[in-house]
Amino acid sequence: MSMAFWRGAGDVLYVPTIANTAAPTATEIAAGTSLSMGITAVRGFTATVNRIGVPILGYDTDVQVNGPASFVDSGFDLVEDDGVGSNTDDVARRTAITTLAKGTAGYFVFSRFKKKAAMIAAVKVDVFAGYIAASNKQWTMDANVARRAVDVILTADPKQDVAIAA
């Protein structure tokens, strides 16, 4: 396997219901909504390690034990759409915003190198449970595309590299 670039290859889905996040089914994944055409930035969706230093009389250096992990602030920046266009990319951008409305709760499924259509049985994905705490337009006069910041609250241990069940 060669090195590869996530953008353009992988996908991020919002999936409303997953019965077992350790083994999401292909049917559940197929019912999800691809967000990739709307996402212009991804924040977080990782956990940080909190190391605890332990002084030991027998050593002159503190040893470490693994402390509580915590999520970094997670969310997406979405490209806004002026509502005029009607091609598939325009629709997908608007769908991403509609899908990630404040109050939405479900699962965010990340695939490194497979798009939604190729997320079939045995493909490995990461699954994060959570809800949308905020979806705010960003107002700036800088040379930026109009965008919206979506803040996600993660509510369960992430499941990483879980295989999609048939």
Binding site: N20, T99, T104, T155
Partner: protein, 74 residues
């Protein structure tokens, strides 16, 4: 399933957030905007459900909305 986390509802849900579930793979209801339900999920077989996962009628829009968004005050 023991390992399945229930998607927690935010402390204060906007009025247009509804619970949805798919009859073919029932699990904890997902919560989406009514617009997302109508545009993305209704045609995939999802139905509106109450906080207990019981289907609710969709044709009585006012009653449905009231039931579906009755809140989930943690």
């Amino acid at each position: 399933v023991a390992s399945t986390p229930t998607p927690e509802a935010p402390p204060e849900s906007p009025d247009d957030i509804v619970n949805i579930q798919h009859p073919d793979f029932p699990s904890a209801p997902g919560r989406v905007s009514r617009e997302a339900f109508e545009t993305n999920y209704a045609d995939k077989g999802f139905v509106l459900v109450d906080d207990n996962g019981d289907p609710i009628a969709t044709k009585k829009s006012t009653a449905t909305k009231s039931t579906a968004t009755g809140g989930n005050p943690a």
